[in-house]
């Protein structure tokens, strides 16, 4: 099994390095194909590992080599394939295989084709390290690695100012969180003496709760950065400047879920500190609502999907925070499938619309892009959580968990958000595929994507539909590692009322979206309508003015402070050094007149100098001679 582990881990690295060889050469189709094949190999190995684990096999745990060892610290490159990581591996390799295949078509005309695959495969490698590592340091390698690849991929079109800006923003914002994560790791090390999961977690049980709380908080702040939780969320929407496959893979399916993975991985820690868990859940619920509200009015297709991702991450944190780790992981998995599908569909639409992102300028695309439309619609249904698609099972489980745990505020918030989710998803679908063909006004001639891209997307489509059916198998497997908290309502009746109620609520939201955007005329907003001028609309459209606030109250002061500090450096620190030098210089300059060249004067100075030295000698001589007496006098004076 170890062989498969290594194949799964290193095939993406090989793919990345292979593609990197061709970075500076013109586009080569085979680079994409080879990369896709290698990632598929990784997928195959992951599948074998999954079946091994499913078949009740032992956890595969290897230690490749030492990384850092000094003092008592010992960090190896160790990898573990257990129930949690194998699930993540499956998600990562599956989605990335599809995205790789899709990218062959999507990046067809881009001159950075080869470079794209190098970055993309590197990302997969980092992600694999992240999920497979058996210690916190290894996790951190992957953590930073995905950050790096995300930076490279958001800024892939580096000639665009916005893209590079967004890349830097993402990187720096993640760095802030990484700092907290690093502190969390230090806390773990100094308190448990190891960074290995299998040593550190059992050792935590005996620790002081306040230490554990800090540990949990710092690790969670780390997770917040990667998973773009409030207040570190702004980078995710801006990250949509990257190529769409990147958005699908990194900013929907895999990287952003790393935070959730971390919390799930640290379940033994968070079980000990339910207060932090509650905080995580509350923040998750808040973000779910907060992000969904921003998605309601946004006019950028990809940003809408990004906000929906954010919102769904909130759901996952609700589950994880409430201790329903397996539910969180299940939602993570299901979400990866339908969200990637949604993004890839959006990519098709973008391609067709020549990189136009405003859904108001689309409409009626169903006729031109039938398959894409079907896929996106199904993905949206799954996202909305309609029976029997994937979203239903996972989201319903989260709602149940919140209800059973008696966190009714959280429950009602996420229930309400579910309605919002349905509304904005179908607002998007309706505006893109139905209604008037507004794109004609802009002289665009849309076309369906390549066949192989659509075929490549189909596994996601299937999984988005049937993932729910896997819930039973999944539950059996995952509870081998995670706490098997099952959430059963006390009465059947409540369960049915809740489920059906939710479904009806969601369906109504969908219908409302269709009514408003598909069956009634939609015009391109020009800032005149009453709704557009309302306070709420503006607030939502400007993302609660948070990016503005960051710009105004953090970025600008930082710039100014930096400039000011530079001035300080030159005019205070350096100037004082030069000032000291100048004192000597001036002294020399002023006493130069003593050196008049008049020997007679010099003789006088000489005698004066002799007198001075002699008197010093006398004084010190006397002081040394009478040191005892002097000391008595001084001590008498209280010195």
């Amino acid at each position: 099994m170890e062989l498969y582990l290594y194949i799964a881990l290193f095939a993406p690295l090989v793919s990345s390095m292979f593609s990197a060889l061709f970075t500076n050469t013109p586009k080569k189709q085979f680079v994409g194909i080879v990369a896709s094949l290698l990632i598929f190999t990784a997928f195959g190995s992951s599948t074998i590992l999954l079946s091994h684990i499913l078949g009740g096999g032992d956890i595969v745990h290897v230690e490749m080599m030492t990384w850092m060892a000094t003092g008592n610290l010992y960090i190896p490159f160790g990898f573990v394939v257990d129930q949690v990581s194998v699930t993540m591996m499956m998600v990562v390799t599956l989605v990335s295989t599809i995205v790789h295949i899709y990218s062959i078509g999507y990046m067809d005309h881009d001159k950075g084709f080869n470079r794209f695959f190098a970055w993309l495969s590197a990302f997969v490698f980092s992600m694999m390290i992240l999920v497979m590592s058996d210690n916190f340091a290894g996790l951190f390698i992957g953590w930073e690695g995905v950050g790096l690849c995300s930076w490279g991929l958001i800024g892939f079109w580096f000639h665009k100012e916005v893209a590079t800006w967004a890349a830097n923003e993402a990187f720096i914002m993640n760095r802030i969180a990484d700092l907290a994560m690093l502190i969390g790791i230090f806390l773990v090390y100094w308190n448990t003496g190891s960074l290995q999961y299998d040593i550190a977690f059992p050792a935590m049980a005996t620790l002081d709760p306040s230490t554990l709380t800090w540990m949990g908080i710092f690790l969670f702040i780390g997770a917040m950065g990667k998973s773009a939780q409030f207040p570190l969320h702004t980078w995710l929407a801006d990250a949509m400047e990257g190529p769409t496959p990147v958005s699908a893979l990194i900013h929907a399916a895999t990287m952003v879920t790393a935070g959730v993975y971390l919390v799930i991985r640290s379940n033994e820690l968070y079980d000990l500190i339910p207060n932090v868990g509650l905080f995580i859940a509350s923040l998750g619920a808040f973000v779910a609502l907060f992000a969904a509200s921003m998605a309601l009015v946004n006019r950028d297709m990809k940003r809408i999907i990004a906000y929906s991702t954010l919102s769904q991450l909130g759901y996952m944190f609700v589950a994880a925070g409430l201790g329903a780790y397996w539910v969180a992981l299940f939602h993570l998995m299901a979400h990866a499938f339908f969200k990637a599908l949604l993004f890839l569909g959006a990519g098709n639409v973008m391609h067709a619309m020549h990189d136009e992102l405003d859904p108001f300028k689309m409409g009626g695309l169903y006729k031109k892009m039938k398959w894409t439309a079907i896929m996106m619609t199904i993905a949206s249904i799954a996202l909305a959580g309609i029976f029997p698609l994937a979203g239903f099972f996972s989201k319903d489980a989260i709602l149940e968990a919140a209800f059973v745990e008696h966190h009714f505020i959280i429950y009602s918030v996420i229930l309400f958000t579910a309605g919002l989710t349905a509304f904005y998803s179908f607002r998007l679908v309706a505006m893109i595929f139905h209604g008037e063909e507004r794109y004609k006004l802009f002289g665009i001639d849309p076309h369906e994507a390549y066949k192989f891209m659509l075929v490549g997307m189909s596994p996601l489509l299937i999984l988005a539909i049937i993932a729910g059916a896997l819930k039973g198998t999944y539950f059996e497997m995952i509870t081998g590692l995670l706490p098997n908290t099952e959430y059963h309502l006390h009465s059947e009746l409540t369960y049915w009322i809740m489920t059906i109620g939710t479904q009806v609520f969601v369906a109504l939201a969908i219908m409302y979206a269709y009514k408003k955007y598909a069956f009634s005329p939609v015009s391109v907003p020009d800032g005149t309508s009453k709704m557009e001028n309302s306070f709420m609309y503006k607030l939502l459209l400007n993302q609660y003015y948070i990016p503005y606030a960051y710009e105004e109250y953090i970025v600008k002061p930082y710039n100014e402070l930096s400039a000011a500090l530079w001035k300080v450096d030159q005019n205070v620190v350096d100037a004082s050094v030069d000032g000291i030098a100048n004192i000597f210089y001036k002294t020399g300059e002023n006493t130069r007149h003593m050196q008049s060249g008049n020997l007679s004067t010099m003789l006088k100075w000489m005698v004066a100098g002799t007198v001075a030295l002699l008197s010093l000698a006398v004084v010190f001589g006397l002081a040394a001679r009478y040191s005892g007496e002097i000391r008595t006098i001084l001590s008498g004076l209280g010195v």
Binding site: K604, V607, A608, T610, V611, L614, S615, A617, V618, G621
Partner: protein, 190 residues
């Protein structure tokens, strides 16, 4: 008693002579006063029983040094009154006194405070010259020889330095002529 009278007398005379030396505006007076002062100092040496040193003092200083000065002065325009700008007298005198007191204090303090024993005690029953000879040619032989060589070198140096163009009277020469000679010197040297 005799000793005291002699000491005070000579002390007064020496101080007076040297005072004249440093204050007078006539170079010849200064020279004469200095020579006289030197002879009076030798008197102290005799009083202190350092007969040999006294003799040397008279021979070297009054005989050789003063003669050299006198000859040297022939080259210079000594009839001219020495004009000197005067600075602050108090500073000069004050500094001088301070320095003198401290030098003497510093060097003498250890001698006075610790009971020094003589390294080369006077030999009983021998004359001063004999004693000096004994010490000088045993313990101080090498310094003595070095001093001899130094004197020789100094003599040669003095002759070489002063002896060039002795046939020309530099005092009576015009500035141009002097310069010509000077230039020739330089050429020869280079």
């Amino acid at each position: 008693m005799f000793e005291a009278v002699a000491f005070y007398l000579f002390a007064f005379l020496t101080i007076a002579m040297f005072y004249i030396t440093v204050t007078t505006s006539q170079a010849l007076y200064a020279l004469t006063a200095l020579a006289a002062g030197m002879i009076f100092i030798s008197a102290f040496f005799f009083i202190l029983g350092a007969d040999f040193l006294g003799a040397v003092q008279i021979i070297v200083y009054t005989g050789a040094v003063m003669a050299l000065y006198a000859f040297g002065m022939m080259f210079f325009d000594t009839t001219r009154e020495v004009k000197e700008k005067q600075g602050n007298k108090f500073i000069v005198v004050g500094l001088a006194t301070l320095a003198a007191v401290m030098v003497v204090a510093i060097f003498v303090a250890p001698i006075v405070s610790t009971n020094m024993t003589a390294f080369y005690p006077m030999v009983e029953g021998a004359g001063n010259t004999q004693e000096v000879g004994l010490v000088l040619f045993t313990k101080y032989l090498i310094p003595f020889e070095v001093a001899a060589v130094m004197l020789l070198v100094a003599m040669v140096a003095g002759i070489v330095l002063a002896g060039k163009k002795m046939d020309l009277s530099l005092t009576l020469m015009s500035a141009e002529q002097a310069k010509d000679i000077d230039d020739k010197d330089k050429k020869v040297l280079s």
